[in-house]
């Protein structure tokens, strides 16, 4: 059998890779993709804890489904924002999108 710690290690590594991508990349699309990786790491952790610690409680899986819905909405709104910014400013590099910075 696979011990729980293996899943935790993989999801921690996945989350850290996502953090690096979200903080270091210049491209707004790459940042969105890194956020997707982080959400997936969270989902993996939730399902692993459901299976190993509380297999008779359905809450873990319900929460994963809610995270799916949130991820889909987040990507839809994020991509719409990127399209809108690209149409107006002709760039998707995050340092050049600084209209709200002072």
């Amino acid at each position: 059998m696979i011990p729980l710690s293996w899943y935790i290690l993989v999801s921690a590594a996945l989350f850290s890779i996502g953090i690096y991508g979200a903080l270091a990349r210049r491209n707004a699309l790459a940042i969105l993709m890194a956020i997707e990786l982080m959400l997936n790491a969270v989902n993996l952790n939730l399902v692993a804890f459901w299976r190993y610690l509380t297999p008779n409680v359905v809450a873990g899986k319900v929460f994963v489904l809610v995270v799916f819905a949130v991820a889909a909405s987040e990507v839809a709104v994020g991509l719409a924002l990127i399209i809108s910014i690209y149409r107006r400013r002709h760039t998707i590099a995050v340092e050049e999108i600084d209209m709200m910075k002072w």
Binding site: I2, L4, L29, L79, A93
Partner: protein
């Protein structure tokens, strides 16, 4: 001695981590999106290994199907913004490396304190069919999870309407384009 499920896990873990590393380092956005699909498929394999087959199907349908396709379409729409030869990381990428390493170390340190770390998975009391049925019933049961379920659907609808409005090519943006 490794069992078959352990070998499947290790292969899936290697593929997932390699693919996610490529997502954050790849210069071409189209390639990064394709690596993202591979990483998401690896996570779907983990869901199958964890007896959550329905979630694996949802992962394929929502992430690999809808989200990845949307990302690829937007990559193609914004292709002329950042080329492959442009710098892909910002000036403080080293701080991002430190943050990621600190996060990984902190998470591992925290999880070593957790009880039941080497726990074997307890045997499921229900078959996969009954598990799926329980999940479906819990989602529409008035006493259980119908409120989060409905909130999620309202959130999806709001995001749908909001993203249409945000991405709509209004008169104002066209005027700006004419000026520039």
């Amino acid at each position: 001695m490794l069992t078959l499920t352990q070998i499947v896990f290790l292969v899936a873990a290697a593929i997932t981590l390699l693919a996610s590393f490529m997502v954050v380092t790849c210069r071409s956005m189209v390639h990064a999106a394709l690596w993202l699909i591979m990483a998401l498929a690896g996570v779907a394999v983990f869901f199958v290994l964890l007896n959550a087959g329905f979630l694996a199907v949802v992962q394929v349908a929502v992430y690999i199907d809808a989200i990845a396709i949307m990302i690829i379409v937007v990559v193609m729409l914004t292709r002329h913004s950042m080329g492959i030869q442009d710098r892909q990381t910002n000036k403080t990428w080293w701080a991002a490396v430190i943050a990621a390493l600190l996060m990984f170390g902190g998470l591992v340190l925290m999880f070593t304190q957790a009880p039941l770390l080497g726990a074997e998975a307890p045997a499921l009391t229900m078959g996969s069919e009954a598990l799926l049925e329980e999940l479906g019933l819990a989602l529409v049961d008035v006493d259980r999870y119908i409120v989060p379920f409905e909130v999620a659907s309202v959130l999806l609808l709001t995001a749908l309407v909001g993203s249409i409005i945000v991405a709509w090519p209004g008169r104002k943006s066209q005027d700006l384009e004419d000026q520039s």
